[in-house]
Amino acid sequence: MTDTEVFLQQVIYGLSNGMIIALVALGYTMVYGIVELINFAHGDVFTLGGFVALTIVGTLGAAAILDPATLGDASNWWLLVGLVLACGVFCGVLNAAIDRIVYKPLRRAPKLTQLVAAIGVSFILVNIALFWGGTPMKVFGGGSAAAASKDFPELLEGSNLLGEESNVVLRLEDVSVFLITIPLMIGLTLFVRKTRLGRGMRATAQNPVGAQLMGIDTDRVISATFIIGGFLAGAASVMWSLYNNTISFQMGFRAGMDAFTAAVLGGIGSLPGAMVGGLLIGVIRAMSDQYIETRWTNVVVFSVLILILVFRPSGLLGMKQREKV
């Protein structure tokens, strides 16, 4: 491989990994923007999305999808879109339910109380995922090794789009990450800018009492935000599963941490910021893996983060934070 090819390859990997991080980060940052809660359980909602996806694939799988003949068939596109919707809805509803049951009663409690409750929820969800992994289904290894990682079948054609001779690998998975994620991001931006509910969200995020005084039902807006944030996590979990072909009950930990980092790096509460932050982290990881050493990658990522925040204390695209009222 020539140096250019290597660089190009790393950019592809960096961006596609970054896209997935950005998708999780969007949900993180939306919820943060509205209720100022660092939602530690977000990553674990994402995990459960992956388990839903694999369960669906496994249930359908017996008939067609897991058949080696149709595995990787391009006609699985419809399945992919269906999975994104199904997992998105599942995670959205789950996220909103968690909010109603756990966070809402604590809305007026100190901020850190909600944070610890979110940590508690995270543990509960991890355990649910562990049990889920023990389901006696073929795709879950018959349930014999609940804690082990699960193989997620390749639903899309795995061959190199640039031709098998090319040194640079660009597969349908890489492309699909963009094809699914970018429309979602555009849709989200339009939703927040143009729709009534979206404007209600922005208003609630910027000034909750002011929003109530404008006749905005903030409880409904908050629920909607948790649903959308969860939906994005669910969509991200499908993209993740498809891209990495592996899910495990603890995968939400790193995803959550990356997303949190991305959200803060971009300026917490800012949607474009979360996207930029996610992509940046993806690319930094890829470049550090290539040009430094993998074992130093985390150090590089977090050093860059600290440096950026020292010089831009509100993140890349964040507004100057308002004083606490």
């Binding site: 404007r199 922005r202 910027q206 002011g210 005084l213 404008m214 006749g215 903030t218």
Partner: protein, 255 residues
Amino acid sequence: MSAATTFTNTASTSANTGATPLLEIKGIVAGYGRVEVLHQISLTVNQGEIVSLIGGNGAGKSTTLMCISGILALRGGEIHFAQQRIDGTRADKLVARGLVQVPEGRRIFPRMTVLENLMMGAYCRNDRAGIAADLEKVYALFDILKLRSTQLGGTLSGGEQQMLAIGRAIMSKPQLLMMDEPSMGIAPLLVTKIFEAVRALNQEGLTILLVEQNARAALRLSHRGYVLETGRVVLADESKRLLVDPRVLESYLGE
């Protein structure tokens, strides 16, 4: 003002005789945490009036407004608006009914443009034509907002933000407009402008409940006034009489 001075609501008669009460507050009690802030407050605002609520810091003026708006839950008492009991109704529902507040410290949306801020006022409305007409009305009232319409709310000066907040409230098509300290922290010239606008709105028929620390300006503008002290109504009368009341003069008008 002596603590012995007490006041009973029934003693006062409305300035605009024969007017119907739009807002009636009967003995409300409210507070934060373990602290009770309002002890049995009663007041009435009639259709078409400007009523001012004056008092020192911590007298409970803003708290009263927050109770009326439904942000703060009552611990006792009743609130009636347009002959319907409204305490316990959620804040957002009240806006749709025409009970709108311009809160203290403006609470505009800093990362939305001026126009977007104004449109947030019309969040509960669906009549496009009416909204457009009201927007023109707001621009006519505060021409500076038109100039600034694409600017972010957070970049406006304090006075401009206050105008924006009032404009935004007008966009909600209020029956009763409650204003909390509209003159606070604003250059005197702009205060005059804002008060003129309030008077103009009233003359068009809008009922206004005005909370002010600047007692003189408020009383000059309003028909009637209530004086609040440590969570109790201690005086209520027509504004012109309050302006010459020795107790008010001594405590709030600095003479």
